[in-house]
Symmetry: C2
Subunit: 105 residues, 2 copies
């Protein structure tokens, strides 16, 4: 077993979100994204089978979806999405997200 | 896509931890565990292939491992473990954990 301290290991960047690969194995990929207010992970999708979760650890904003959909996001919220469905995020405060992708892309 | 508000949907129990299935699909199972101080998910393992992550959303305590191992756990910490390796958790304050198991058990 291995512990990753996200707060110690990944900070924030001025120009765009800061991402860090937390774990990658045959079953799941885990990525931490940190956002300053206003920074955005644009809506995107991949035409492959699988699902992902986006967990809000700190901060908040809007989960983004198809056709301009926005779903408010706060700590303790988890978004579940097919990898093939459009998904994204826009931060309204300093935000830490953890994304799990299974199977890994 | 579907949002789960863990704070609204899962509370705490007096006698033991409170667990809630967040998501289950062919690729990953996601479970939220909430602990009052002193409550424990005892060390256990399953003799199958796969990996799991334990993400601390709130509170803290100790990740538990084989041979009495303890690793301090605070918000933003992520433990990565083989499903077959012994793992557990003991809360020292009111704690919310999110566990991802891939592939699902």
């Amino acid at each position: 077993m291995r512990k990753i301290d996200l707060i110690a290991e990944n900070g924030f960047k001025e120009k765009t979100f800061s991402n860090m690969l937390v774990h990658d194995c045959a079953f799941v990929k885990v990525i931490n994204f940190n956002f300053e207010p206003g920074q955005e992970l644009p809506v995107h999708s991949h035409d492959i089978e699988g699902e992902l979760t986006i967990t809000v650890l700190e901060g908040g904003g809007q989960f983004l979806g198809a056709d301009g959909a926005e779903i408010p996001a706060k700590p303790g919220d988890v978004l579940v999405s097919e990898i093939a469905d459009p998904h994204g995020f826009r931060a309204e405060s300093r935000t830490r997200l953890l994304v799990h992708i299974a199977p890994p892309i």
